[in-house]
Amino acid sequence: MVEEKEEKTEKKKLDLRRRPMPKQDHWERIKNFDEVALGYPVCLAQEEASRCIKCKKPACNLGCPVGIDIAGFIKYIVEGDFAAGIRKIKETNALPAICGRVCPQEEQCEKTCILGNKQAPVAIGRLERFLADWEAAEGRIEMPAMAPKTGKKVAVIGAGPAGITVANDLIIRGHEVTIFEALHESGGVLIYGIPEFRLPKSIVNREVEYVKKLGVKIFTDFVVGKTRTVDSLLEEYDAVFVGSGAGLPWFMEIPGENLNGVYSANEYLTRVNLMKGFRFPEYDTPVKRPSRVAVVGGGNVAMDSARTAVRLGADEVHLVYRRSKAELPARAEEVENAEEEGVIFDLLTLPVRVVGDEHGWIKEMECLRMELGAPDESGRRKPIPVKGSEFRVPFDAVIMAIGNGPNPLIQMTTAGLEVNKKGGLAADPQTGRTSRPKIWAGGDIVRGAATVISAMGDGRIAAASMHRYLMGEEG
């Protein structure tokens, strides 16, 4: 009875102001690659957590692809029991420091938070990040309870978000897990794609070390499909999960795209993030530092590329997008960060041609102005070119950030695997099973370019199905 009374008084004083997270000032951060968002200190985290109205039937949990008990961990933050809070998250999420930073929460848990109807939803992502960073700072990473060994062996292809989730879930259930990673570092897109200023690589390494501590073996420099085929792995392993991720970058198929100075976002970001090109010549991999840069696209990868170009010293960075601001697929927070950092948004603009000089280098980009017509099949208003609106802008570099297909290597080297209409592996969304027995798949290899958390969600579903199969509960 007493408890209920207390709750009522709290509700009366309900504070609808979402606590902002401290971040580096924009004039400072454009000169470095350090993380922009600095995280909540304890006081702000507890204030923000106290905004949670403790719904009887919380809707936030339903918005989470891996089903974190959000209301549960927030309650522990209010109570100051951070150890219990992080334990609660880790029941269902192996990578909280990463998800807290890069999940599109406004499309997921925060979208279904009931407070959002009145004002801003609880900053769930920032609170998740707070607990993960608190645990790391404490230096006492708790190990989960491990099931007895089953004697079953699982091979996981790709040490990205999908693969790490599968490895985590299966080793806890007692299976022996080996990850095969093509690159020289584990983390997949978290390492090669997402920039340091949004997700520090030390955090990715920390999470990779955690699954290694659980007993997961990781072989880097190992390209399944090439170094060894899936079929050869199946002679040794009881089940295989394919999480080989993103593949060939898409281009616009306009003239001049193979000119020097035209990059895919994958190339540009890999040079900077995985290969540390921003520290050239200390690191050997070079990256160009052009002064006038166009980034084509409107998603998070486009924002990452544009903000990277700003940090590499460009005088002008233009984000070229064919629809209007309302349709930008990037997270609102990333758009805001890019604007603060001086990225110029050329909206309703469609590149039609890249023009080169006599040495094969880009000189200009020709574009068309667009206007919005009736909604298309995606529900967004369709951009229509304005006749005769061609114009040319001088650029030293164009970065194409318009998406990519799934990686082609596994499909090319494994017989009998059905392919979906995106060219990726066909997998049952309920189980992650492919068209072949003993082979599961998830993440970008199935979806094309999607999010970190959806890859993790796929991993979670596949791991559950693989476990049932390995225990003989599912054929």
Partner: protein, 277 residues
């Protein structure tokens, strides 16, 4: 880490090195390449594979010292090791009984054409090998290639060995020997592959070239290795590296290969040039 078993300069500026990499050695085939990093700060570069020993678990490659990364490789000694040596990558060279196959090798490609010639001979072809170099002192592996071939020709630009002349002389040379190849396979520097493709095109000799663009991941993710083949964009790391030389947009390819030339030599300015050959 991948131990270096041997590294020696075989002709000026050209090095042969052998790495212990059993998983790669197990599945490598003619025409494949590997990607390596010379040290923890190093760049990822692709190198064609020139030989291997599956039982010993070793892979051999030949490289020319041109920039910062190959300068680091050129300083490796037996007992050293490198952090990345991944492969085999790309599609293997198509091996079948074509009849008479002319295998052209130049530069580092004298190394990588060797396993191709060997496999073609095993597949029943009459294998004609042609090696090209500016001068006789730049030729290597002639004995190995002699054994792999039914006939060997040598072209040097200064005439110090074999016939004197440029690679464009191939049709003339083949005609004088009475050879009409059913297929030509070229491994070597870009200019050589382009020139051979130019002179074989009017003769209708199918010409396969082993392309060597800039790469990073080498597994179909970054797209830096793209080139135009028959008017379509292809990715050398997963669609190639072998392509029909008559279909390639060579000027575009040459320009793309040079895009990082200033940066490739930049590290040399920052390292002390100690020669330890």
């Amino acid at each position: 880490m991948y131990p270096i078993l041997e590294r020696r300069m075989i002709v000026p500026n050209m090095h042969e090195f052998t790495v212990h990499a059993p998983a790669v050695a197990q599945s490598v085939k003619p025409g494949h390449f590997i990607i390596l990093r010379p040290d923890a700060l190093g760049e990822r570069i692709p190198l064609s594979v020139a030989d291997w020993d599956r039982e010993a678990g070793t892979v051999t490659s030949v490289f020319m010292q041109v920039g910062g990364t190959t300068a680091k490789l050129a300083r490796l000694k037996p007992g050293d090791s490198i952090p990345t040596f991944v492969g085999p990558l790309g599609r293997e060279t198509e091996i079948a009984n074509f009849g008479t196959v002319l295998c052209v090798g130049g530069c580092y490609g004298i190394g990588s054409i060797y396993p191709i010639a060997r496999a073609l001979k095993e597949a029943g072809n009459r294998v004609v090998v042609l090696l090209e170099a500016r001068s006789s002192f730049l030729l290597y592996w002639e004995d190995k290639l002699d054994r792999a071939a039914n006939a060997t020709f040598i072209l040097t630009r200064d005439g110090t060995k074999g016939r004197k002349g440029h690679i464009g002389k191939i049709p003339e040379l083949m005609e004088s020997a009475g050879i009409v190849p059913d297929r030509v396979i070229v491994n070597g520097c870009t200019f050589q592959m382009m020139r051979v493709s130019e002179v074989t095109k009017p003769l209708g000799w199918k010409t396969i070239v082993n392309m060597n663009p800039i790469m990073i991941d080498g597994t179909g993710m970054c797209g830096v290795c793209r080139l135009s083949v028959g008017g379509k964009t292809k990715f050398a790391c997963v669609d190639g590296p072998d392509f029909d030389g008559h279909e390639i947009d060579w000027p575009e390819f040459l320009a793309r290969r040079k895009s990082y030339s200033p940066e490739e030599v930049d590290p040399l300015r920052h390292t002390s040039c100690q020669s330890r050959f």
